[in-house]
Symmetry: C2
């Protein structure tokens, strides 16, 4: 489909999306029952097709980059949009890694005899059709398609209009790989119309779509959550905390607090607020200030912090609720673990929070009582990631409470049904 053809009328979009949904539902039957070998073969064939199409992908990506420059996309967005040899290899490698992961589909757990004589267990099954809505980074097209495919789901992908040529070129590789493995090409469909109303259709097609995974900025996620009637697995934002306890090993505290902020600034698992117990603040803060200064991290503090670190800016009420995604850190001195957990409860986003302590009871309480998708002891918040957790890859990080929390890998894209085995058993 040419760029011109990517603009169509509203009625046409409705019909286009309905047809897409019907094909996805139909294809979900085939991929749901496909054996592990076929799914892995498809993943490897797609990886090979991507490697082979490297030049073509860079060419199509150049069209997007040029259009992006003309329309004034900022440098960060252009960087995320860009495909180069390394990124293309990484994309193919990611698919090969998904092929090595265990297939979650069909796994039966807990199968046990009941007093009635029946056996009851649970079988892991695909969700059906997954709609993925994302922005900028074209590698999501391959990642998301690969994870959904391996977990036995059909996928409808909707990338940003700024990446339309890149995404369609990647989609062509996916189709080729699916065909080579003997799977229907409708297992992965990329929406080719760039009109925003296609998203509106996608998130309300309850008959054809089982779950929506939005990946992108807060604006996108909020819009999707507010309008979707299909269930959404969403990642809202990450306001992550490190709390250095009064029983912390100071060196570990400094190491983890530094890494959690500076290892990367723009990621959702980066620490945004540092909480320090008042009894250790004098030992911790001056040393950390020097390290952050060297990295150019701007510090904003509560009154007590500012007495220990004179000259830093005031942290306003708004700061405690802000995901900076930048070299800025707010710091608050707290009385101890209770006030720290209270702060996290009121200002955290339920993403990732870490305590630094050598105290057994404090560690145990923090793990149990902090209600975040990842709760850590003596570890950097930057570890909150599908690869680091051993999920192999992630489709996103859920800050929701039901279905799945934290990094979402293959298992998060499945559900469990009951299986009951009998031999003519009836209920008395």
């Amino acid at each position: 489909m040419s760029t011109a053809a990517n603009k169509i009328g509203t009625d046409d979009i409705h019909a286009y999306m309905k047809a897409l949904g019907e094909r996805a539902r139909e294809a979900s039957l085939a991929i749901g029952r496909a054996d592990t070998g076929s799914k892995n073969a498809a993943l490897l064939a797609i990886a090979d097709a991507i490697d082979a199409a490297s030049a073509k992908l860079i060419e199509e990506n150049a069209r997007d980059l040029e259009a992006g420059r003309k329309s004034g996309l900022d440098a960060a967005l252009l960087d995320r949009l860009e495909l180069n040899d390394d990124r293309i290899s990484a994309m193919a490698e990611g698919l090969r890694q998904i092929a090595t992961l265990p297939d979650p589909v069909g796994e039966i757990t807990g199968l046990a005899y009941r007093p009635s004589g029946i056996q009851v267990g649970k079988m892991r099954v695909p969700l059906g059709v997954i709609g993925i809505i994302y922005e900028s980074r074209p590698n999501v097209t391959a990642d998301a398609a690969g994870l959904c495919l391996k977990s036995g789901n059909a996928t409808i992908l909707r990338g940003g209009s700024e990446a339309i040529h890149s995404n369609q070129a990647i989609a062509a590789c996916i189709q080729q790989g699916l065909a080579q493995a003997g799977l229907p090409k409708e297992v992965v469909q990329v929406i080719e119309v760039t009109d925003r109303s296609a998203v509106g259709e996608l998130i309300r097609m309850n008959r054809y779509v089982d779950v929506i995974v939005p990946r992108g900025g807060k604006g996108l996620i909020e819009r999707v959550s507010a309008e979707a009637t299909v269930p959404v697995i969403k990642h809202l934002h990450g306001i992550c905390h490190v709390y250095i306890d009064d029983h912390a090993d100071i060196d570990k505290g400094i190491k983890v607090a530094f890494n959690s902020k500076t290892q990367r600034y723009g990621t959702c698992n980066t620490m945004e607020t540092l909480l320090v117990a008042s009894s250790v603040a004098d030992q911790v803060l001056p040393r950390l200030r020097q390290m952050y200064d060297e990295k150019g991290v701007e510090l904003r503090g509560c009154d007590v912090t500012r007495k220990i670190l004179p000259g830093i800016a005031v942290a306003s009420d708004e700061d405690w609720d802000t995901e900076y995604l930048a070299p800025i850190l707010s710091i608050r001195v707290v009385e101890g673990i209770d006030q720290a957990m209270d702060h996290i409860r009121h200002h955290g986003s339920g993403h990732t929070d870490s305590i630094i302590t050598e105290d057994w009871s404090h560690a145990r309480r923090f793990l149990r009582e902090v209600d975040s998708s990842s709760v850590m002891v003596n570890a950097s918040t930057r570890f909150a990631d599908g690869y680091e957790y051993g999920l192999g890859a992630e489709i996103g990080i859920s800050t929701d409470k039901i279905h799945v929390r934290g990094p979402v890998g293959l298992e998060g894209l499945t559900s469990q049904k009951f299986v009951v085995l009998g031999d003519g058993h009836i209920r008395g």
Copy 2:
């Protein structure tokens, strides 16, 4: 609160519900971290309070029954509304059974070392605040409160206005038990206003409520699903199938088909449509007809069925999509397993479906390919039930695909967060 006081203005309802929500959120912290012993003590104390209040419960229930008779409730509803000694004992016994179940909260699974040196696992945690909306049967008040309490959740209960006095009397027993165990009484709150707009508030209080479980007729569920912004675990309806395969043991097929329909008519796991492979229809249907006739079950059939069973009514297109909840059964003769699964896919409700077969491959395919919350081989659909499955008790049966499918016990009222243990580990 007296009946007169149960009617208040809309602004007041908003304020009333908000206050209820705030108290529930606060109480969820206490119950979330309560140890297993305290929760079990509360369950046993509530059970004792219910037993001790038996006379009072019957008295209050009599007020509801009288009002129900005056307002013209039908006999079935009045029966469901009634509390008697047996039902009250059963309610108390149900709570004592919940006390014996393992506590799901805090269970850590899969804790394993990663190459980076951190340990990563999952901890089972409560959802937070659960809103339960139900009709008629006052025993749900105790059941639902007990399950939510044991799984570490705070609960807001909204029963039908026809059961308001019964529900409030049961609530008083619950409060008494909670207090005896030293838990805040706000862990379980019963909405005391009967105005329908209270439900509208409850299902949109995303800040205070984490999940809604509606229990009742299709009208209630559809209204809640359409209007809720809080995630809903819903049980829409049960159009359950038994398929007697061409490789079935005929005796088992007849036994299971008879039990699945006649063991109880009004339940969601009752078979509504019988599918029979054409090669065995001649052997199966005449014998079954005789048995169903004796029970007074009305049969409606497809053309082929009506040739084998002359004189029975025609099954219309509508019949295949109908949950009779009555002694009526639709019967279709199919070519074999593929047509049977196709019928189930188009007309089933994803609740419970059973195949009767001695054929290994057919059983294996049916288990894998039928996308229902319970999939059975050679067993009666009537087994789809929390007690029969060993969950101990159920808060409902989910026909949704995400979070939880089938009978929902304690585990379905929880989620899992990641726990990460390190010793000063940072990401490189």
